[in-house]
């Protein structure tokens, strides 16, 4: 039924949690003011999805339908809490930037949606693969959105990379102009909605273009 290819195809493109399922928008729109912030939250979400999908799938044998949602909630909430504590202890710089948003991962419907729709019905390996694919798909959306907003808003890329990658990343910041006036709207929440809408539109346009190309020869095959 499943293959690694179909699972990744769904996570990254066909059924992307951000652009197609439109799930988890609250943290997605709040955090993506810079590329690095987006990447940080994306990785935290990815890790949560992996762990929660694996735990849900591993416990599906003795799960009862009546209590599955409370069990998912317990698993997800404790996973997120543990990740938050670990971030606070070992990635303090990043925690100071993302700390307030990490608890929001609990409210990210992507995670409970994957638990319910996929992990609780699939063997461990597929569930982990699905967590990986959906997590990467979500992270890519966060990174692209963060990059677009950072570029428009302050004319830079990779600001704060040192928080995520250590002091060696201090010189990664790319500044495209020394006297860029800045575009405040891109950094504020409304800018997040605009940029996200454009991203969804771009994905749909590309998707249509692909589908047309694939079906075009069939149409041409007529007389």
């Amino acid at each position: 039924m499943h293959s690694a290819k179909s699972i990744f195809g769904a996570g990254l493109w066909r059924n992307n949690p951000g652009l197609v399922q439109l799930l988890g928008l609250c943290p997605l729109l709040a955090v993506t003011s810079t590329l690095v912030n987006g990447l940080g939250l994306g990785l935290a979400t990815l890790l949560t999805l992996l762990v929660s999908n694996a735990l849900v799938s591993a416990s599906r044998g003795w799960l009862r339908p009546e209590i599955r949602i409370p069990v998912f909630v317990l698993i997800i909430a404790s996973t997120v809490t543990a990740i938050e504590l670990i971030m606070n202890a070992w990635f303090y710089g990043l925690y100071k930037v993302l700390g307030i948003f990490v608890p929001l991962i609990v409210t990210n419907c992507t995670i409970v949606a994957r638990a319910e729709m996929f992990a609780s019905r699939q063997p461990l390996a597929w569930a982990i693969l699905d967590g990986l694919a959906m997590g990467i798909g979500f992270t890519l959306v966060l990174v692209v959105l963060g990059a677009v907003r950072e570029l428009l808003g302050q004319g830079t890329l990779f600001v704060g990379a040192a928080l995520l990658f250590g002091t060696t990343a201090q010189h990664w910041t790319i500044s495209f102009s020394n006297d860029y006036p800045g575009f405040l709207l891109a950094l504020l929440p409304p800018g997040a909605f605009f940029a996200f809408a454009l991203l969804v539109a771009a994905r749909n346009w590309l998707d249509n273009a692909f589908t047309e190309r694939r079906t075009a020869p069939v149409a041409d095959a007529g007389p």
Binding site: L85, N88, A89, L187
Partner: protein, 222 residues
């Protein structure tokens, strides 16, 4: 009808739920245990680093991060704020006053204000804030040098000029972050007012080991 079977199912479900709750809660407690000291150490370290920056030009030989009193005063914030004391050979050198303001653009801004014995600002650093990235976060020394403009200021100089230029004061506001700038100028001014009124009490030795200090003192890593 099948009451025994139904209650059996329910019991099974209840046991599964209880076991899950115990396991998940237990693992959170375990992670909490493993991270507590490190988290406290991180926060203490961030505070110590900022204090060291503030006191860079003023030699001291104690640990101001630990030599602190906790004060409750409306000028410094709604809750109890620590005041750190730098000494050399037991003699006072300077104090670092924490001031928390809710006047910022989003959430409270926590500042550390270094004040010498004459009531002159040594330096100011942000400890915590949630101002807009790209605008208000320029109050961080890592992003902009705006915060250094307070160095050398005192209640007497600029006197009436303790506000941003837009309000007729002597301090430039940050572009696009007037509210943030106003809040920081006001908070630093309040720290100086506090020092002016209560400064002589800060170094009173009776306060050194006062029980009041313990809640604010973070555990030190070994």
């Amino acid at each position: 009808m099948d009451n025994p079977e139904r209650s059996g199912r329910l019991l099974h479900a209840a046991i599964v739920l209880a076991v899950t709750a115990a396991l998940t809660t237990g693992s959170v407690v375990l992670v909490k245990q493993l991270t507590t000291t490190r988290i406290a150490a991180n926060e203490a370290l961030a505070r110590q680093q900022r204090i060291a920056q503030i006191l860079a030009a003023h030699p001291y030989d104690n640990v101001p991060g630990d030599d602190r009193i906790a004060v409750t005063d409306g000028l410094l914030g709604r809750t109890r704020q620590p005041v750190h004391r730098a000494r050399r050979g037991g003699e006072p050198v300077a104090s670092v006053i924490q001031v928390t303001t809710g006047e910022g653009y989003s959430g409270s801004i926590v500042l550390l204000v270094g004040v010498d014995l004459q009531g002159k600002v040594l330096a100011v650093r942000t400890l915590r804030h949630r101002e807009t990235p790209g605008l208000g976060d320029a109050i961080e020394i890592a992003k902009h040098d705006w915060i250094t403009r307070f160095e050398g200021a005192s209640l007497a100089a600029p006197g009436d000029g303790w506000s941003v230029r837009r309000d007729g004061g002597r301090f430039d506001q940050l572009t696009g972050a007037t509210v943030t700038s106003r809040a920081v100028v006001g908070a630093v001014h309040n720290a100086l007012l506090y020092f002016d009124r209560h400064g002589e009490r800060i170094f009173r030795d009776s306060l050194r080991f006062s029980p009041n200090t313990s809640p604010a003192t973070a555990p030190e890593p070994k």
